[in-house]
Structures are given as C-alpha cells and as structure tokens.
C-alpha cells in the first residue's frame, strides 16, 4: 500500500478500520477529537458503527457492551476522560473481554492543559481502576508505530481477552507523518469467541459476561486466572527498542513515545561532541522491559529516565536496576515538550554528576 501523510489521530482511526474494527464509541476531547471526526466519516463507508457517546462513561460502557458480543471495538480519549473510564475498564478486565482504549495524554492533573504530556503513566500501568487487574500498555513513538500498535492492540486484546491501552502523548495524535497500512492478519486468525461472546445462546450454553463473583473463592480464582495472563505477558509480550547501545555509551536513557525520539536527537547531538549515550525505549510500558534495562544498566553504570512528567516511569526504572545504580531523572511537565538541546544539557549534567 502506498504511504499516506496522516495525522496520528486519523491514522489510529484508520488503523482500527484496517484491523477489522467496525465499532467505535467516543466522546470528544482535545487533543484526540480528530479520531471521532475521522471515523464519523469513515465508519459509515465500511458499514461500521460510530456513536458519539453522551460522556466517557457512556463511551466506555458502549465499548463494554460491544466487546461482550465478541466484536472488535475501541474508544479514544485523553487524560480526564480516561479517568472517567476507570471503573469500566476494571469491569472489562474482570469480565475478561477484549477492548482497545487509546489515551492521547495531555497535561494534568485536573483540567490541566491540552498540550502533550506523559503524566498518565502510573494510571495506565498500575491501574487507574480498583482491584487486581492490569492493562497491556503500548506506547508508540511515531505515527507509523501508532498505526502498527493499534492493529496489534486488537490482536493482543483478543489473544488475552483483556483491555489493551495505547498510551500516546498529544504529539502522537496531532502530528502528521507518512504511514503505511500493512495488511492485518486475517480476521479468521482472531481466536474464537464462541465460548464467551454474548451473541444469543443458540445451540450452546449461555455465555455471561460478568465480573461479579459473590463467592470469594470464585473471585479469587478469577484473580488467579487474570494473574496467570499477566505472567505470560512478562514472558511473551515485552517489547522495546534501542538506540546507540553498541557504541559503549556512558549513560543509558530510558524514555518512551515522543520523548524517546527527542532523546535520540539529543544522542546524535552528543555524538557530535564525542559523547556516547544509549537509549532503551519501552514499547510496552506494561509489561515493562525491566530485565533489558537492568542488563544494559549494569554494563553502562549510569541511567536516566527522561519523561514528559514529574517523574513516574523513573520509579519503575529504579526498581528495575536496584539500589546499586542510581537513576537520574529529567522531565518537563504541564504540556512542555523539552527540546533536544534541553535534553542534551540534562544528559551532560547527569554525566557530570
């Protein structure tokens, strides 16, 4: 397929369609309203369904209802809207249904601002909702990757019958880059939904999509089923990319999304000055590539987490490397995107420290 120049938000919408998704429910919020705007045109063209929900609660629960029928479904929102979805996401995880949630993060807390941020890392990776559940969290750094991960998200959601979250900062949603839509694996490759989808109990016993288990033993059992999936993720689903790790870097950056791209430019600039710095870019924020980070951190000895937040992932990085290696932090918050130069300075400071 030829490349198209697309805004991240629109590309995500198109990627969902290419992945076979025909159900999209959402409520507008900057900086991701273009997904709804795009799909309000596009869904009818492919006999798909778009409902502008009355709220994020409505949208998330429409997703719940559609997901329970075994159809591909997703929604998109931004920080405050995603907070409103917390209860429902917990329900969907508890009921073991596949659904894709996209959070195009903006600065917080509260109404905050509308500019790009990465301050929902904790919410996404530690669970905004209640109870023992996890999301598989994917963090794209380019519009192309947003497309690829959106398509992957549906696959993973069905494979594990668990909500998958795409965590992109506002920049991922707003910028235009060339993208290519690789043909998705055929829909037939999705696992069968026969055993759980509520499609009418015809010729089989009833399927009930539920998260209530009044008997605590049964609820604990459900918890163990979920935990077993999350354990598999640790083995099979960790994804990350690296940059300039082969040149004996003196410092290891951990950064994701847009921030990682800015770091790569900073790395190039430092290389000009004869300073080698390497980068690990987690693509799955949960499961977190802790082992890879530890391995390289041990070799390199110095680590810094660079984020568009007041410092959230840094806690996971520190936990990954243990106490012997100090993890520095550089971040800007509130919608400010640090420039490569600023990052260069922060890295130099860290190298001096």
């Amino acid at each position: 397929m030829a490349k198209k120049l697309m805004k991240g938000n629109e590309a995500i919408g198109e990627a969902a369609i290419q992945a076979g998704c025909r159900n999209y429910f959402a409520y507008p919020i900057t900086p991701q309203s273009e997904v709804a705007e795009y799909l309000s045109r596009r869904m009818p063209e492919v006999q798909g369904h778009f409902v502008q929900a009355e709220s994020e609660l409505g949208a998330a629960n429409m997703v719940f209802g559609a997901a329970a029928t075994g159809e591909l479904v997703f929604t998109t929102s931004s920080s405050p809207g995603v907070s409103l979805m917390s209860e429902t996401i917990s329900y969907i995880a508890g009921a073991q249904l596949p659904a894709v949630f996209v959070n195009i993060v903006r600065g917080g807390p509260g109404l905050g601002g509308i500019l790009p941020a990465q301050s929902d890392y904790f919410q996404a990776t530690k669970g905004g909702g209640h109870g023992d559940y996890r999301l598989l969290v994917l963090a794209p750094a380019t519009v192309q990757e947003a497309v690829d991960l959106t398509m992957l998200a549906f696959q993973l959601a069905f494979k594990y019958r668990n909500p998958v979250m795409i965590l992109g900062d506002g920049m991922i949603g707003q910028m235009m880059e060339p993208v290519e839509f690789k043909p998705p694996p055929p829909a037939a490759d999705l696992p069968s939904v026969e055993t759980w989808a509520t499609t009418g109990a015809k010729g089989r016993k009833c399927n009930i999509a539920h998260s209530l288990f009044l008997d605590p033993e049964a609820l604990e059992k459900n918890n163990h089923v979920l935990a077993a999936k999350y354990k598999v993720w640790q083995k099979d689903e960790i994804r990350f990319a690296t940059y300039n790790l082969d040149n004996n870097p003196r410092l290891l950056i951990v950064a994701y999304g847009t921030m990682a791209r800015i770091c790569s430019t900073a790395i190039d600039e430092l290389k000009q000055k004869g300073v080698e710095v390497g980068l690990i870019r987690p693509i799955t924020l949960y499961p977190f590539p802790a082992a890879a980070i530890l391995q390289h951190a041990k070799k390199i000895g110095k680590v810094i987490s660079v984020e568009m937040s007041m410092g959230q992932m840094v806690e996971d990085v520190q936990a990954a490397v243990g106490h012997d290696i100090h993890v520095g932090f550089f971040g800007r918050a509130g919608g400010i995107i640090p420039s490569p130069d600023e990052v260069v300075q922060a890295l130099e400071a860290e190298l001096r420290a």
Partner: protein, 264 residues
C-alpha cells in the same frame, strides 16, 4: 387435562435469591414468557444491572452481560449497534436507572436506541440494605432518611416515564405495576409490545414496573402490595406515556411557551 400455566422455557429451574414475596420474581417471569412467546431466546442478550437483580442471568437460558451500576443502557447501545440482529434488553432497578444511571438512560432514549428497558421501581435501594432512592416516597423512612424523605431537602420522587416522555425521539414508554394479577397481565402486554417494537426495529422502548421490597420496606409481602397501591400509585400513575404510533400526541404534551410570536 393440559398444563395451563407453567414456568417459561427461557427460564431455568434455579430458585431465585429474592426475598419471599419480592415482585422481582413476578417481573422476571413476565420477561421470560415474552421471550418464549416471541421465540427469541436464541438471539436475545440481556443486560443485568447492579441491584438485587444483578444475578438475573442465573435464571434464564439466554446470554447476559453484567453492567456497572447504572450503565446498562450504554452496554445495550454498544451491543445493539455492534450486532443489530440481536434482541437486547436491560433490566434495571430504580437506584440503578433513576439515580446513578440517569444520564445513560436519558441519552439512550434520546438517541432512540433500538433496545428494550425493563425498569423495576421499588422506591428503594434493595440490594444495599434499604437506602433512600430518588424514587422513594415523601415521608418514606429508609436507612438514609431515618426521619422520612423530606422533599424540602431531598426533593420529590423522580418520575422517569414522565421525564423520558418529553424527548422528541419516538419511543414506547409505559408505566405498569404487578401488585394485582390484572395489572401483572397488563404489564406483560406492555413488555411484549416493548420487545415487539424492537423486533420491528422501530424505537426505544421502556417499561417501568412498580414493584415491592418487603424486606427493606419492613412490610410483609401481601401488605407490601397494598402499600404500593396506596402510596406509590397516586404518585406514579400507570399508563402509556408515549407510543411511536402516537408521536404527535406526545409532541403536543410539550409545555407551550410564553411568547409564540418570537418563535418564528
């Protein structure tokens, strides 16, 4: 000798967890009979609320989804849009539908989702132990209105049929009750029409059923029927509030404005 009356086949043998004399059980049966009569068990999906009827799915031979508290209409919207061939109905209590879930029901109705709602109004939060509902009667003593509901502080009870009937989008909206056998039969007819309108893909349909909660009202079952009749009926009049066949009549019910000359 034939069997004139037997449990619906769309329901199973399991005994319900409801308290003795709780009319949730009657309403369940009416829904089951409707599903039988329309022959739709194999393509029906129910949406359970959070409330005493959360376990409704234990009693039917049909697929169910369990919604978060109040959100059943949103799940139903998602399910029905994704699979228009399915028959989708919600079953909700008054706390679920008229309190936390007001937004979802209003907007599902306003969008005209082709779903059916069975709304069981027992003027109380049954499941959580008898707290005041938006539908509780003035003066009604509940665990959170120990001196009786005071309309000056908590307002008057919410009438959902009246509220939803103001929406311009065509719909079938009816209030019924099961405190006498006669009315139970009428309730069944209303539920049946509600499902039929969905089968014909015509409109959103909504059947409010007045129901008892002997346990939390603190009134024995038979007396509870009388309490409903004496206290709830005068405030919650029964009847068809809106019917797609009579959209125009419904439109006329919109209160008229003060200054018609500005309106053109």
């Amino acid at each position: 000798m034939t069997t004139l009356f037997a449990p619906p086949v769309s329901m199973n043998e399991r005994a319900t967890h409801y308290c003795p004399g709780c009319t949730h059980g009657v309403i369940h049966r009416l829904v089951g009979e409707t599903i039988d009569e329309l022959g739709i068990a194999e393509r029906t999906v129910g949406i359970a609320p959070v409330g005493c009827s959360v376990l409704i799915y234990n009693y039917y031979n049909i697929d169910f989804q369990e919604a978060p508290h109040g959100r059943a209409p949103a799940l139903a919207t998602g399910a029905k849009r994704a699979r228009p061939d399915l028959m989708v109905f919600t079953y909700q209590g008054d706390g679920d539908l008229a309190s936390i879930g007001t937004n979802e029901i209003v907007h599902a109705a306003n969008r005209g989702e082709k779903i059916t709602t069975v709304f069981v109004n027992n003027a109380i939060y049954g499941m959580t132990g008898g707290q005041m509902a938006p539908t509780s009667m003035p003066g009604q003593v509940t665990t959170t209105s120990p001196r009786g509901r005071d309309p000056a502080l908590a307002g008057f009870p919410m009438r959902m049929c009246e509220l939803l009937s103001t929406l311009r989008t065509p719909a079938y909206i009816v209030r019924a009750s099961v405190h006498t056998p006669q009315l139970a039969v009428q309730t069944k007819q209303a539920i049946r029409r509600a499902f039929q309108l969905q089968m014909e893909n015509r409109c959103f349909s909504f059947v409010e059923v007045l129901s008892t909660c002997p346990t939390n009202w603190g009134i024995p079952p038979v007396k509870a029927l009388r309490w409903l009749q004496d206290n709830m009926l005068p405030y919650y009049p029964l009847g068809v509030f809106k019917d797609p066949d009579q959209q125009e009549r419904a439109d006329r019910q919109v209160p008229t404005p003060w200054r018609d000359n500005d309106a053109k």
